[in-house]
Symmetry: C3
Subunit: 435 residues, 3 copies
């Protein structure tokens, strides 16, 4: 494997790594600008703090100037400049001197992972706090500590990116990822990296049957904002799509269904994963945890499934400083995540309803497609083509035929082309009402 695309994906993730992102603020803006360098047609949108979004309200924008603690020994620890996970997300401005015992109420660490800095936020309740390794916490001496948090919470806006790519049909495939996590790699620099290059690949294709909607949002509040602004179009046009998250490690593949579980996105996801990695892990809707919660919510119900590598919450480095570009996310992992989504998109593009144009079996021999000498062994050579033909009754999709033939759908693309070139098969476009 050359890992050409894997290295590009990894390079982008590395470039995005140091930026201090949250659900609002310049971290998101800088991230989107870097992505826009690769997909220049990306449009960037701002929605004002205080805007009502369904049951939610867009919070104030959060800006971090500096934050740290000074120990009784005068040592500066938990500096947000050293690691942006040190500061609890959305911490309010604070200057305090307090004892270690008092300070402990504002510290977060993980006893079971003594070297990990946990990722903690408090978007909708004003508070402050610091995250640090259990090891550092255990070493803190008694005495007075100075807390310094120079942050601002102000009426600003929430920022998101959107890229619409037109195809022959107005029917859309929605690809969404989120850009609100600070320096963590699988959850979640892998998502924006992979989606950026998927968007680039789609944009550069000369033929597209479908239109595409790529969405880069802060998780939850961002997807809700996006849905509120585009609900009617989304419900009218989106017939398939994926929420892209945790696609960067090389340990396994995973699938999480849409709420209904029986959409074309689900069928495609399971088909692709089965043929790429038979041992992929299949989750249920009960295991959901990302923006599919909004896209598939009652009343919205878009056909959005999730194709992942190792799922959020299912690896120990999750939501800690250990989720990095060294031990967790790799070029191989990113390339795998990109590839399965590419297979899935190609399957959606190629899916159709093939119909044999003759009655009874066609005589393939006279077209050079079947051995003319009938022996005990003839037939096996063209078995897949014959199976393809027998199922091509116009009532079954290419995906369903692939399942019936027990082959990956991509094995049928060249056969479909051959039979179409001999005028033996006609196709109808995918039934977009596929449930």
């Amino acid at each position: 494997m050359t890992l050409l695309i894997g290295k590009q994906l990894f390079n982008l993730a590395e470039k995005l790594w140091p930026i201090n992102r949250s659900i609002t603020g310049d971290g998101v803006r800088t991230t989107l600008q870097i992505i826009k360098e690769i997909i220049p047609a990306l449009s960037i949108h701002e929605v004002a703090s205080g805007t009502q979004v369904f049951d939610w309200t867009i919070p104030k924008e959060w800006r971090v100037n500096d934050a740290y603690i000074v120990t009784p020994d005068g040592e500066k620890i938990c500096s947000v400049r050293e690691n942006n996970l040190h500061l609890v997300g959305y911490s309010v401005p604070t200057r305090l001197t307090l004892s270690l015992a008092e300070l402990q109420n504002y510290l977060h660490s993980l006893p079971a992972q003594p070297l990990a800095i946990p990722y903690v936020t408090s978007y909708y309740q004003e508070r402050w706090g610091f995250c640090l390794s259990q090891k550092l916490r255990d070493s803190l001496p008694n005495g007075l500590y100075k807390v310094f948090i120079d942050t601002e919470l102000f009426d600003g806006s929430l920022t998101y990116g959107e890229l619409l790519v037109e195809g022959k049909s107005k029917k859309e495939i929605l690809i969404s990822t989120y850009i609100c996590h600070p320096s963590m790699a699988n959850n979640e620099l892998s998502g924006p990296s992979v989606v950026t290059f998927l968007a680039k690949w789609i944009t550069e294709k000369t033929r597209r049957k479908y239109s595409y909607r790529f969405v880069f949002v802060p998780e939850t509040i961002g997807s809700l904002t996006y849905i509120q602004r585009h609900k009617d179009q989304l419900k009218k046009n989106v017939f398939a799509g994926f929420n892209v998250s945790c696609v960067g490690d090389n340990r396994n593949y995973s699938y999480l269904p849409s709420r209904r579980g029986d959409t074309i996105s689900d069928a495609i996801a399971k088909h692709v994963l089965k043929h790429v990695c038979a041992s992929y892990k299949s989750y249920g809707w009960a295991d959901r945890g990302s923006d599919e919660r909004q896209y598939c919510a009652p009343g919205i119900d878009l056909p959005i499934a999730s194709i992942m590598r190792t799922k959020y919450g299912e690896y120990e480095e999750y939501h800690t400083s250990l989720d990095d570009l060294v031990n967790v996310v790799t070029p191989e992992g990113l390339e795998g995540g990109f590839s399965v989504l590419q297979y899935a998109v190609e399957a959606l593009e190629n899916n159709c309803y093939p119909k044999i144009s003759v009655i009874g079996e066609p005589q393939l021999g006279k077209r050079g497609l079947y051995p003319t000498l009938s022996t005990k062994a003839s037939g096996t050579a063209v078995r897949l083509m014959m199976d393809f033909i027998t199922w091509s009754d116009g009532g079954q999709s290419l995906l369903e035929i692939a399942e019936l033939c027990q082959v990956p759908i991509w094995d049928l693309y060249p056969i479909l082309e051959t039979l179409r070139s001999h005028d033996l098969i006609t196709v109808e476009d995918q039934n977009l009402n596929f449930s």
Copy 2:
């Protein structure tokens, strides 16, 4: 466990024990009178002998004055006053002197259960006979025996009890049990005992969504009679119900489906039993044997399932004198039988179609229903509430949501209340066309 209700159930069973019941006669009337002391609104009905009931005819009423055998030694055995199982049900009046060899043709015993007196009846064919233990039978000396059967068969009536309890809806839940068995405990004093107290509990409830129809009938001919008299109302209003039999021992729980097998009664029965006793025994329609045969017959097809403890025919004491209030039926057993039916009725009452009233996930945090600090572990605490919400799309019943969440439906009652009190969920009444 306090067994408060268990002891009440047991006391009633003990009170009913000595009465010599059959499908007609004063035994049934006395039994219904005792039940009426607990549920005074019970109405008692008489249907004349000779009445045509579908394919059947109500037989003559049977009265037993006395019956016994005198041995060659002058000993009185098989006295119906000693054990009412001694006389074959519906035995005709008989005074005979005959040899042991001749007598043997009229005796019934169970070689495999040498201490048990079997339960034998001949309702629709005139004959006579005695039942006795194999041990006693084997000890009978040769010689002449005197048979004395002082019974009467006369144009009387069949007796049944009925209690209608009105609810907000005219739609009904039917609870039927039978009162034709003489002194046997699980099959069948447990049934009338449990149904009596279920009726008392329902009657005393301040709010009832549904109406209730409690029926105490002789088995087969009684349920047919009841159906013939109320067929149109039953078919129009009964949307769920249970035939209650064998609910008094403490050995297991059992389920027997309705004929169609997919009614709301079946779904509720399986759900309740699964969560009360994961190892409950599930039977098929082929194993039927009680009044569900009539309620579910082609042309009637009411949605009646059976929730039992140990099923008739499946325990060795069945239909013998060993089915008693000592070794078979216990207060614990009765309490368990009562409880599962109570759970089932409550599930029917509470079932509804919840619908989330906001689009997208609600922001539970601002209502104090979700932790405001987001850490690696947040979410699990309110997982069940979130799962409840995600399935509340108005298209799935509370029962179906409980199945999706893999919890007993009663775990959802308080969550439903909380969400309704925050105006986050609206409910529609159960779809009464549930098939």
Copy 3:
């Protein structure tokens, strides 16, 4: 087992054995004449070479006068008079002298089966060749060989046989087999032998609910020809049917579905086989290989399943000289093949929608159909009758009732008769729209 029919079947197969059949020619005509001796109403049809049949063209007729090879030693080998498999089917006339090395290009043998002469044809591409055992081939000395093939390819016709047997309904059962194989026994003298006697049996029945269409065709081109000529009638009237092939050995039973897999033919085939031979082998549509490919093709889609003994391609003697009437096909094997098809046809004839004519359970006792003494054991004796009654709601077929009762459908025939004679059951004819 007397094997009366088995021996008749075997005798016919022996009579047909020596004839040199192909997809056209006098071998087919002679075969049909012999069959016509048993079913005189058989009509024989000729369709001219060159006729367009859907995507195919009927080839020239092929006549074999003589064919053999003369070795350098002057020995005559591979004589078609010795074994008609020696000559590749449809070999063109040839007179050549050539070296062993050159000859090898025209020889066919099976290294893994050194004593078997393989069966090879080239219907649609002009060529010539000889088939021989690997053992003989290995013994051939170097030197010059003389090839002598006296065959004719000329504008003649394709021949097939058809027998229509009228029943009360115009709805038809189609039974098709093929008559294009030279001297091979299971594949395929068993098929025409069994179908001939099935046709004789049907013709001689005094009552037939359905009409029957027996078809004897050359495989593929013959069934396509037949379908083209009768497409509208077939699609309108055929509601069930079987392609009959490989029904002569005694090793196993097999089932191959129709393309849709859920027709009444499939249900009947599986039911019959399950009860005749629980360990029968079930294939999928992917394993198809005979005329079901045409009868079930998209656009034709007749409900044709296959009931076989050991399937073509699944036994080592298949398509070689070893598929004979000594080691492969036996009277027992043929009798078994005949019997399962007979069971299947009887099941189709007897299938109906029984409906109980009383409401509630009927009182069987008063009709002498139920024990009047009720004991612990009563009920089991008439259990099947009671089960039959409970499922006879008019919405389920006799076949479905047999499945529900877990008995072969033929166990229900006498019960149905008994209940009909007591006016307890009425029947409606099979729903011919059964899918």
